[in-house]
């Protein structure tokens, strides 16, 4: 269509619309209206035609009416006064003998979205509720919800609400469901539609009559119902059983959601329900719609958290097709990793190997890291595949393999020999910073076993001027230092060059500071340097944490059948979550691939036997609420300082009123005989394992000995909180008392201002027995479960440390 100036077009249309000849000819009139709508949908501003269109509304031609309504609903908000004229026509249409016309008029009346028209709309809407035709009632019921939405603060007419409740018994299932929807909207402030026993039973009995959308709506709203007796509960469950295996994934998911809600106190029944939906879920995984497949996969991942064996026999259903989109392939691989066992491992690895050469680099990377994860249990087979992949000489594959090996070695040190021999010649193929960082980390940890390590480093150092990545430079410094310690003669010269460059020429302050630090460290002598730089190469204790224990269903049930499981994937697969598992050097690097949040349920189990001596009793039967810790967002020392002082002041001032405040104080004692021998590094590493960050500490063997730490707790239901704390030890002969103080407050970090020595007044209790640590926890907002969870994690860490050092 030739583009006329919009003004011309509008003028032309207006002339045509007001031409009596056109108006008298039904077909011409309609076509002119059509032209106006076409112009509108092409983005031409035709709002000037409003008055002409209002006239065109008064016609017997339904098609023209519909067209005009489309126009009016789009522009009504711009012309509230003129819209008043339409109301008359609409009200007249509401009397029309044709139910189609009546429902059309009602719907558009409520779609005008003009608060000024509400008074004219109410009467026809009320009449609509009592209309003979179901299609009019459907529209009228929702109309009330729209009116309420328009004026959320207006008073609710009790008569209307009553009538809507009455219409729940309407013979038409759509009217029934629409009533639920409308009441839900209108009574939002009172918590939605009231769900009592008669309503619940009525809805359940008529569930079958509704279409898929209606069923889902009913099932969702019923989640609020609490059966009065166990018998009633089981009656409801058996009524729902057929929907649980419904071939429609939305109904199946909604039913399972309701099931899990109803059976939250009956884990055995919930588990049985999960078994029951296996078939429909697998069917949804084979659906022709990729989005349905994706959704099903995400939900299977949730289910596997509680029932790891659920899909074991069906692992072939998760093999990827060639043309599947990357997001499905990556999800499938995540599921496959969970399903690996002795019987299928060969086949699974064979399949995953095929994905490693996928054209999509992200998918290839995901496949390689999936193999790495399986490698924690089946290291030989996986290493064979990984080293084989290096032979392909593809940049992105090599990078992913080196990163995966880096992660693998951290957990399984027995792999190091194979990894070391595989590293030779890799550096030419590594282009991206993450891959090079991983290579450098491996060289730092196992430099003495890789014969070409100095040559590789030399290459890096020669190119350091053109190096863009900060991470690589930092890693390079540490690696060169560590290699210098084990192979001094080969490395001395290049270390000098590197330090010189970093101190004299480097523009980035972080790198410069790091280099200066190392430089000064070297001045302190080789012994001292060795002590600082000698770090862990691996963490065998992590091996215990790998096998994920079955989580209680309640931990994820709240997010079932929402967008959350779909979104979590996005975060998990972000390339940013990869990196080297460096713990020991002083640069605070996020401890990444070990998953950002570590689940504490495992730790709690370990803890159960050992915390008998501590004053805190953790009832072993009770499963603590889902709590996980994480280090992000990071807290800077200044911010910490500010928060710490703030907490402290408040505590001093209002000690008596603490219980009424929104944070709570808890004091506990923990046995911890290992404070003096334990090195800051090992403490820091241990804390980091459970995602507690130590911010600052005094050197060992100085008194009083202090550690400042922080973490974030993530609770499944309440979002996250920030925990800050201090460990204090005052050595007095054999008396060891330490106080841990913690202040918790909301996740939002306040910008701090002062920078000074951290010298918070500690709360010391001298009544503690020998080798005891006193713990004081403050929390805001109050959440006892999270507090207890955190305390038990801390206790475990300290116990583990003291048992290691003794």
């Amino acid at each position: 269509m030739p583009y006329l100036g919009s003004e011309d077009a509008v003028r032309e249309l207006r002339r045509a619309l007001s031409n009596p000849n056109v108006q008298s000819d039904q077909l011409r009139y309609r076509n002119t209206v059509l032209k106006a709508i076409r112009a509108m949908s092409q983005g031409v501003d035709v709002s000037d035609l409003f008055s002409e269109m209002v006239k065109a509304c008064a016609t017997v031609d339904i098609v023209q009416k519909k067209l005009v309504y489309v126009f009016l609903c789009s522009y009504a908000t711009l012309n509230p006064e003129l819209s008043l004229l339409v109301i008359n026509t609409l009200r007249k249409d509401c009397q029309d003998p044709n139910p189609m016309v009546r429902s059309l008029a009602l719907r558009n009346m409520t779609n005008l979205r003009l608060p000024s028209l509400v008074e004219y709309v109410e009467q026809p809407l009320a009449a609509g509720l009592r209309d003979r035709a179901a299609c009019v009632r459907r529209v009228a019921v929702l109309g009330w919800a729209k009116l309420h939405n328009l004026q959320p603060d207006a008073e609710i007419d009790a008569a209307v609400v009553n009538e809507l409740y009455g219409l729940l018994r309407d013979p038409d299932p759509v009217v029934m469901v629409n009533c639920l929807r409308a009441l839900e909207e209108i009574l939002k402030k009172e918590g939605g539609v009231a769900i009592n026993k008669p309503i619940t039973h009525h809805l359940l009995n008529r569930l079958k009559e509704s279409d898929v959308w209606g069923q889902c709506e009913v099932l969702r709203i019923l989640q609020r119902y609490h059966p009065q007796s166990e018998d009633e509960l089981f009656d409801i469950l058996s009524l729902l059983d057929a929907s649980l295996v419904s071939p429609h994934p939305p109904v199946m998911a909604a039913t399972l959601g309701l099931f899990l809600g109803l059976c939250s106190g009956l884990p055995a029944v919930s588990l049985a329900a999960l078994e029951r939906v296996r078939g429909p879920l697998l069917a949804a995984c084979g659906s022709t719609s990729r989005e349905t497949r994706f959704t099903a996969l995400c939900h299977i991942q949730l289910l596997l958290r509680s029932l790891p064996g659920l899909m074991g026999a069906h692992y072939k259903r998760f093999f990827c097709g060639y043309a599947e989109p990357a997001y499905i392939k990556q999800r499938k691989m995540q599921v496959l990793v969970e399903l690996v066992n002795d019987e299928n491992v060969a086949m699974l690895l064979d399949e995953l190997k095929g994905y490693c050469t996928d054209v999509n680099p992200e998918t290839a990377q995901a496949a390689i890291s999936a193999i790495g994860r399986i490698g924690r249990s089946y290291s030989d087979r996986c290493l064979e595949i990984l080293t084989g992949l290096l032979g392909l000489k593809q940049e992105h594959i090599t990078s992913a393999v080196v990163q995966t090996m880096c992660d693998l070695v951290w957990v399984c040190p027995q792999c190091s020999d194979t990894v070391c021999s595989a590293l030779e010649g890799c550096e030419e193929m590594l282009q991206d910073s993450q891959g090079r960082q991983a290579l450098l980390w491996l060289l730092a940890a196992y430099g003495e076993r890789v014969s070409s390590a100095p040559y590789t480093l030399e290459g890096f150092i020669d190119r350091v001027r053109s190096e863009a990545s900060l991470g690589v430079k930092m890693e390079l410094l540490t690696t060169t230092m560590r290699l210098f310690l084990c192979r001094p003669s080969e490395t001395q010269d290049m270390l000098g060059r590197l330090l010189h460059y970093c101190i004299e020429e480097e523009m980035d302050m972080c790198v410069r500071d790091q280099a200066l630090l190392y430089y000064r460290l070297l001045h302190c002598g080789i012994e001292e340097t060795h002590k600082v730089l000698h770090g862990q190469r691996s963490d065998p204790s992590l091996g215990v944490l790998i096998g994920r224990p079955a989580e209680p269903i309640n931990q994820w049930a709240y997010s079932f059948n929402t967008l959350e499981p779909l979104r979590q994937a996005g975060v998990e697969t972000e390339p940013a979550s990869r990196g080297s598992p460096e713990h020991v050097t002083f640069d605070p690097k996020p401890n990444t691939d070990l998953s950002d949040t570590l689940n504490c349920s495992q730790i709690e189990k370990v803890n159960l036997g050992s915390d008998g001596a501590s004053g805190f009793t953790c009832s072993s039967a009770k499963v603590l609420a889902p709590l996980s810790l994480s280090l992000s967002p990071a807290l800077s020392p200044e911010e910490f300082e500010h928060l710490w002082m703030q907490r402290h002041a408040e505590q001093g001032a209002e000690k008596l009123e603490e219980e009424e405040e929104d944070y709570v104080c808890l004091e506990e004692r923990i046995q911890f005989p290992a404070i003096p021998p334990c090195s800051p590094q090992s403490l820091q590493a241990a804390m980091q394992l459970v995602n507690i960050q130590t911010l600052a500490f005094t050197p060992p063997h100085t008194l009083p000995w202090r550690v400042y730490l922080y973490t974030h707790t993530h609770h499944a239901h309440y979002g996250s909180t920030l925990v800050i704390g201090e460990l204090l030890y005052i050595g007095e002969a054999s008396r060891r008392v330490a106080a841990v103080k913690k202040g918790m407050e909301d996740g939002d970090v306040v910008e701090g201002e002062q920078e000074a020595g951290l010298s918070g007044r500690a709360l010391v209790r001298k009544d503690g027995r020998e080798e005891e640590v006193e713990v004081t926890l403050k929390q805001q907002p109050r959440d006892d479960n999270a507090l207890k969870g955190f305390l038990s994690i801390l206790t475990t860490v300290l116990h583990t440390l003291s048992s290691e050092s003794s």
């Binding site: 519909k66 489309v70 459907r138 959308w213 078939g279 697998l282 084979g286 990729r290 060639y322 996250s720």
Partner: protein, 449 residues
């Protein structure tokens, strides 16, 4: 970054408690411009739509494309409906603010596509632009205030018609179906000759590994009806016992278990539960009466052995052997074996024992067509390609060999229609016609090169 994702989670949990479901805006987007858009509840800022396409592009570049894209607390849940024959892409997007049942939203979007394709044959840019009035009407009928309403295309087609002329003044009356007890069929349908055609169609999905082992296989079956019957007939469909047992899950030892059995809403499920009869009042015209899936180890009906030898810088030699592993009496029609070749291959040469081979350079494959392929027979195709001396450095995927075929008068599952009883008040005689077809679904054999 972490902070933002954090706030999204909060938004979700907030909305979860408030309990809303769909906050839908339906948008059709073609080539980054909005074709048509309908804001159902009016509280999503329409400016949000402008963010969708850049967001999509950005995620695609990062390789993080996902069916849910989020910006702040607006979530875009989108599907892509593309036409294979013309490279034309439409996107259906729904934005939702509330914490919604994800599979429900996707089902609705697919329902939308289904309805529109039934109206316009193909859902693409032109059909939407040419019919935007109907599109607006349909969008209004399908959903009101963010809640799905009438989504059955059969019913919709009765009162929203494509030709405006059909809706003559005064003639438009309420379709009985909107209020009727039998919502899928209106009264007063008349045919001169009363017939019903029953198609039993089974699609075979197979995935075979490069070393020749079958990784997965299943059968997706459906019974389709084309009903041309007057009045309100009552139909009863009789299937063979073997299938009935499979349907009900009895006698699990011998028969295969059908899973994912879906009946059209017209089938009286209560009746089926009691005495296993499939009885129904059929919708007029074409409809799918039931569908099922059998997850079983079927012998691949057409077996492919392939040897693909790639001599770098000089040539590729392909040898493909196809074998019909079905009964001798049956014949597979229109068999197409699609063999992938490197993208830089040239100068094709073919030799086939039957049928034709053709090189399709734009898809990087050889298509070997065999018009009629009797069971138990074996055929051979050889192909030879030249490769340039300068090698293509780009990493290429390993597409599988795919096979297309159709075998009439045969079903893998053994499902059979024993009888179809048609009872109508007026007592007319009607003829049922039954046809069986087995065809290839997703039939892939991975190659070793």
């Amino acid at each position: 970054m972490l902070q933002t994702s954090h706030s999204i989670e909060c938004a979700i949990s907030d909305d979860f408690r408030s309990g809303g479901l769909l906050q839908l805006t339906i948008i059709f987007i073609f080539d980054s411009s909005v074709l048509i858009c309908r804001n159902y509840k009016g509280d999503v800022d329409m400016a949000e739509i402008d963010h969708f396409f850049p967001l999509l592009m950005q995620h695609e570049e990062d390789g993080l494309l996902c069916p849910v894209l989020s910006r702040g607390n607006v979530h875009f849940m989108w599907i892509k409906h593309s036409n294979l024959y013309r490279i034309l892409i439409n996107e259906l997007v729904s934005t939702t603010n509330k914490n919604s049942n994800a599979s429900l939203v996707y089902s609705f979007l697919y329902k939308l596509v289904e309805v529109f394709t039934e109206y316009f044959k193909e859902l693409e840019e032109e059909s939407i632009q040419d019919n935007f009035v109907v599109v607006y009407e349909l969008l209004d009928e399908l959903m009101d205030f963010g809640f799905p309403q009438t989504t059955d295309s059969k019913i919709l087609q009765e009162y929203i018609t494509q030709e405006g002329a059909k809706l003559e003044v005064g003639k438009s009356k309420v379709p009985t179906t909107v209020t009727n007890a039998v919502s899928w069929r209106s009264e007063g349908i008349k045919y001169k000759k009363n017939e019903v055609f029953i198609d039993v169609i089974e699609s075979i999905n197979v995935l075979v590994n490069a070393n020749g082992s079958v990784m997965s296989s299943d059968i997706v079956g459906s019974i389709k009806l084309k009903t041309m019957l007057s009045g309100m007939p009552e139909l009863r469909l009789g299937l063979n016992d073997r299938v009935l047992f499979a349907l009900t899950g009895r006698d699990k030892g011998k028969t295969v278990v059908m899973e994912d059995v879906k009946f059209h809403q017209c089938v009286r499920l209560s009746r089926f539960d009691i005495d296993r009869t499939i009885s129904f009042i059929p919708p007029d015209g074409e409809s799918e009466l039931m569908s099922y899936r059998i997850n079983t180890h079927v012998k691949p009906l057409i077996w492919i052995e392939s040897v693909i030898e790639k001599f770098s810088h000089s040539r590729v030699e392909i040898m493909v052997k196809a074998k019909g592993q079905f009964k001798k009496q049956s014949v597979a029609n229109n068999v197409e074996v699609r063999v992938p070749v490197p993208s830089d291959a040239d100068s094709p040469k073919f030799k086939t024992s039957t049928g034709n081979a053709k090189y399709v350079p734009e898809k990087n494959m050889v298509v070997w067509t065999i018009k009629s392929f009797p069971g138990g027979k074996e055929f051979l195709m050889r192909a030879h390609f030249g490769l340039p001396s300068v090698e293509n450095n780009e990493l290429e995927g390993k597409p599988p060999i795919t096979v297309k075929f159709e075998i009439p008068y045969f079903t893998v599952s053994g499902i059979q229609v024993r009888y179809m009883k048609i009872i109508e008040k007026s007592g007319y005689q009607a003829l049922p016609w039954v046809r069986y077809i087995t065809q290839s679904g997703d039939y892939q054999l991975r190659s070793n090169v």
